[in-house]
């Protein structure tokens, strides 16, 4: 783990090293002990990281008012509408919502993988203090894959079927590092064993079709972490997998993240996956963020009607046989969406019109817990009686 810090943050390490040489020179006692610098630095870093993980919050990426619009017949329609959130170091932020809510569009916007001539992007993506939006393709390529990795949903379509697995991982190293052939191979084998592949030497020479779904997803993860990125965007990493494999992959992601202190944006529609790994949740509906907060807060005390409905529609292993909640209607398509007023209005038609705000905004109901629109105060399920929830809105 420590080696990563060496490769990536040389400046920081240089600083610490000079600081310590001074410190060592001043204290003769320590000098006599002939302690290895690196060992001391390692301990100090460990302490710093531990402190940083708990008390200091260091945002890796800050997304500010990001709007991504697609051109459909000479009109631009926003698929991601004014989305803001941030991911700190050592944090997993989950973006949830149904399909068509703009989750994947958001992920691809952060990586800027949408074709430029059909999309318009506004706002700011501050990645390690630098705005990524104005960068050109060549500049972006230096960031993508190196400092920012991506895990795609369907590993079979994302991997090249005609290329050996090992070569595909090396491709990333080829582009971003200046390692020799042997070094690349050792690094690749190291990566493969890091993601829990039992025989790295054998897997190195295999083709994607020879691997099982879980193994392919592990290969995808190893490509994403090849250059020790600070941020990983995982777009539905476990959707195509079985429960047992899903649990393994989630545990793997979590352990890698704990080792390397990176941030993860986890895009999923499965709330139980979110409960299992995430620290923060961003609930998206029709391109907008409708609720955000910590996992514990949101799963225990969901406020927005959409979050509540989603949670009610899960056939949980705990509840007994009963009818599941169905959210009426469908997610509006971006071209036909009513952009004024609450976008969830049509799907909770039994809630009176007055409950909604004219132009819904995010309200902070508790520290760190934000909800859009005021309709949550009056919301009740169709078969329940209404009860007013009151909060001091700031």
């Amino acid at each position: 783990m420590f080696l990563y810090k060496y490769y990536t943050n040389i400046n920081e390490n240089e600083l610490i090293e000079t600081f310590f040489t001074k410190l060592l020179k001043s204290s003769q006692k320590l000098y006599k002990l002939k302690l290895n610098y690196q060992k001391i630095i390692y301990f100090i870093e460990k302490v710093v990281i531990k402190l940083g993980g708990t008390s200091m919050e260091k945002p890796i990426i800050q997304i500010e008012n990001l709007t991504t619009s697609f051109r459909i017949k000479d009109h631009y329609h926003a698929a991601v509408d004014n989305v803001s959130f941030s991911v700190n170091e050592n944090e997993i932020v989950a973006v949830v919502g149904e399909s068509g809510c703009g989750k994947s569009a958001l992920a691809l916007s952060i990586m800027q993988l949408h074709s430029k001539d059909r999309t318009k992007m506004e706002g700011a993506i501050n990645f390690k203090g630098k705005n990524l939006l104005p960068l050109n393709e060549a500049q972006l390529n230096k960031v993508r894959g190196k400092e920012m990795g991506m895990i795609f949903q369907e590993p079979l379509t994302a991997l090249n079927p005609l290329m050996m697995v090992g070569k595909q991982i090396e491709e990333n190293l080829d582009y971003h590092t200046k390692l020799s052939k042997e070094q690349k191979k050792t690094r690749t084998l190291e990566l493969l064993s890091q993601v829990g592949i039992p025989y790295p030497e054998l897997t190195y020479k295999q083709y994607p079709h020879e691997l099982s779904g879980g193994m392919r997803q592990r290969v995808m993860i190893s490509i994403a972490i090849a250059c020790n990125p600070d941020l990983i965007i995982a777009d539905e990493p476990t959707t195509a997998l079985d429960v047992t494999i899903q649990a393994q992959i989630l545990d793997l992601l979590k352990s890698i993240q704990q080792k390397t202190q990176m941030g993860i944006i986890l895009i999923t529609h499965d709330l139980s996956v979110v409960a299992e790994v995430a620290d923060k949740i961003v609930v998206m509906y029709a391109g907008q963020v409708v609720e955000t907060g910590t996992v514990r807060e949101i799963l225990k005390n969901p406020l927005h009607p959409y979050t509540k409905s989603l949670l009610h529609s899960i056939p949980s292993a705990i509840t007994d046989k009963s009818r599941l909640h169905v959210i009426e209607g469908i997610v509006p398509s971006i071209a036909k969406m009513d952009r004024v007023g609450c976008r969830f209005k049509e799907r909770i038609s039994w809630i009176p019109e007055e409950a909604h705000e004219h132009s819904p905004e995010l309200h902070e109901v508790e520290t760190g817990h934000w909800v859009r629109c005021t309709c949550y105060q009056h919301f009740h399920f169709q078969d329940e009686k209404g009860e007013m929830i009151t909060h001091d809105i700031t």
Partner: protein, 308 residues
């Protein structure tokens, strides 16, 4: 009354190779599976991918050739029927497929898709046919005007409902649902599951529910069987399987279900680790030398486990 009884079902696929592409070995996709379905109940088959659960389902509809064993449908062994003999049974056993995006012909109108099984068995004038189809569309909650639309004009949940309408037109007795909701969002999934329950009441259907999502199976099924490498390793009521899993594989499967409560996740991760260690250690206790699960032995009237 027992509607379907599967006895020692085996589906082996040959592996060809060597000289003149002779049969070298077999893939034992389903290797001796037995279970019974009562009329009107929902039976779940769970297991990871490659465990042979879909193959079992397909073998019952005879989409796969049965190597040996019996499939007793209403007392008749249909396992070795020729395609001519099986035809009358095709009416009674219908299938709902996994992916609504690829199981509907994109070039056909909804009318033709839903009427296809009907046209194979019954003669109707175009007017009558249209009326029947519109009735079924109404039942599955789609607008009757949509008969002239094409599949791409519908959302995922709607498409799955077209697939369901297609399987209902012949008034089947048994429906084999092969992961019917795994390609759908939670909200749509809820819609389809509720709807399948309603239909079961209305048409007195029996379901064989194949899936890997244990939450869904638990929600839908009265009884379930857990499959691993082509064998049943545990069978019982949903409650027994979830609250008192006996076989090590079932334990591992249950431990892998993600919990909606974030405060217990560390404990769950540790528990999962423990079960997985136990799995590694006691693997030989639960499986014989060839890695085959033992035969099922009853431990209570409804609960059966594969123990030596």
């Amino acid at each position: 009354m027992t509607l379907l009884k599967v006895e020692d079902l085996k589906v082996h696929f040959p592996i060809r190779g060597g000289f003149f592409r002779t049969v070298v070995d077999h893939v034992r996709a389903v290797d001796g599976v037995s279970f019974e379905l009562e009329e009107g109940e929902t039976y779940g088959l769970v297991g990871e991918s490659g465990s042979g659960k879909s193959t079992t389902g397909k073998a019952i509809v005879k989409l796969n050739k049965v190597t040996s064993g019996k499939i007793l449908f209403e007392g008749q062994d249909i396992a070795n029927y020729s395609s001519r003999q099986i035809k009358p049974y095709r009416r009674d056993i219908q299938m709902i497929f996994q992916d609504p995006y690829s199981s509907l012909n994109p070039k056909k109108r909804v009318l033709d898709i839903i009427a296809e099984p009907l046209r194979n068995f019954e003669r109707h004038s175009p007017g009558e046919e249209k009326k029947i189809i519109q009735d079924y569309l109404d039942k599955v909650g789609l607008s009757p005007d949509s008969i002239y639309k094409y599949p791409h004009e519908f959302s995922g949940g709607q498409r799955q409902r077209i697939g369901i309408a297609r399987s209902l037109t012949l008034k089947p007795k048994l429906i084999i649902a092969d992961e019917p909701v795994s390609a759908l969002d939670v909200s749509v999934q809820a819609q389809v599951l509720n709807f399948l329950q309603d239909l079961q009441e209305e048409f007195k259907l029996t379901y064989l529910f194949v899936g890997h999502d244990l939450g869904v199976i638990r929600h839908m099924c009265d009884r379930m069987g857990v499959m691993y490498r082509g064998r049943l390793v545990e069978e019982g009521t949903s409650k027994e399987i979830y609250n008192n899993p006996q076989h090590i594989y079932t334990k591992r499967l249950i431990a892998a279900i993600p919990d909606l409560e974030p405060s217990v996740r560390e404990e769950k991760a540790i528990a999962r680790q423990k079960v997985s260690e136990e799995y590694e250690q006691s693997y030989s206790k639960y499986f014989d030398e060839k890695g085959r699960a033992y035969d099922l032995k009853p431990i209570s009237t409804t609960h059966r486990v594969a123990l030596p």
